[in-house]
């Protein structure tokens, strides 16, 4: 079974990347694939609590992530330094995640066959 890492490094709403990253997790999750999701750099903003893009007539993104476990996606890694630089802690995020240092993220990626960047 292929191990796929979805690496989110971009902020949501300004571009489509994070929304499509989410859709690809669901899309690939239904196939026989071992999917891990890593949030690095501006990608940590994707998990921020309280997103409400109603005034932009867009769909909220963050709240969908806790539901991904229904698609058997259960490995969520957040880069500790990226969080800290942005003045954030794990409490600011929509779900419980594994907070890893750079070496931890590196090791998680090294265990994957494919990295899809969003």
């Amino acid at each position: 079974m292929k191990k796929v890492a979805i690496v989110m490094r971009k902020a949501p709403y300004g571009s489509v990347y994070s929304a499509e990253g989410y859709r690809s997790i669901m899309g690939l999750g239904v196939f026989e694939m071992d999917v891990a999701v890593a949030f690095v750099d501006d990608g940590v903003y994707v998990l921020l609590k309280g997103q409400n893009p109603a005034k932009l007539d867009m769909k909220p993104l963050g709240d969908g992530f806790p539901m991904l476990s229904d698609f058997d996606v259960k490995q969520f890694y957040v880069h500790a330094e990226s969080l800290a630089e942005r003045g954030l802690t794990a409490d600011d995020l929509v779900m419980g995640v594994e907070v890893l240092d750079s070496a931890g993220i590196s090791a998680a990626l090294a265990g994957c066959d494919v990295v899809l960047p969003f």
Partner: protein, 97 residues
């Protein structure tokens, strides 16, 4: 001249670049992903404090709300699209995109 910033200060040089070019007193508008610069407690707050020392700084409410940003650096003025238009009434525009 109104400087418009639509990128995060953490992965993009747009805000830092605008601050080099903008003359004292010229306003800065944070919109789209640029609003992340308004968050307090981030390392980029130093950049925003430098901005506030010399410029009025505005952040677009719809973009803040979309991204769930509530803890803002004091001094940043939150405005709606109507406020955005009001700034454009008063200034020529330099989109620093």
């Amino acid at each position: 001249m109104l400087f418009m910033i639509n990128k995060t200060p953490t992965q993009y040089g747009n805000l830092a670049s605008a601050l080099r070019i903008a003359a004292k007193g010229q306003p800065i508008l944070l919109y789209e992903d640029g609003v992340y610069a308004a968050m307090s407690g981030a390392q980029s707050e130093a950049l925003l404090q430098a901005a506030l020392a010399d410029h009025p700084v505005y952040a677009l409410e719809a973009d803040l709300e979309a991204r769930g940003l509530t803890r803002l650096v004091p001094g940043v003025q939150v405005i709606g699209y109507d406020g955005f238009v009001e700034l454009v009434e008063q200034h020529n525009v330099a989109p620093w995109i």
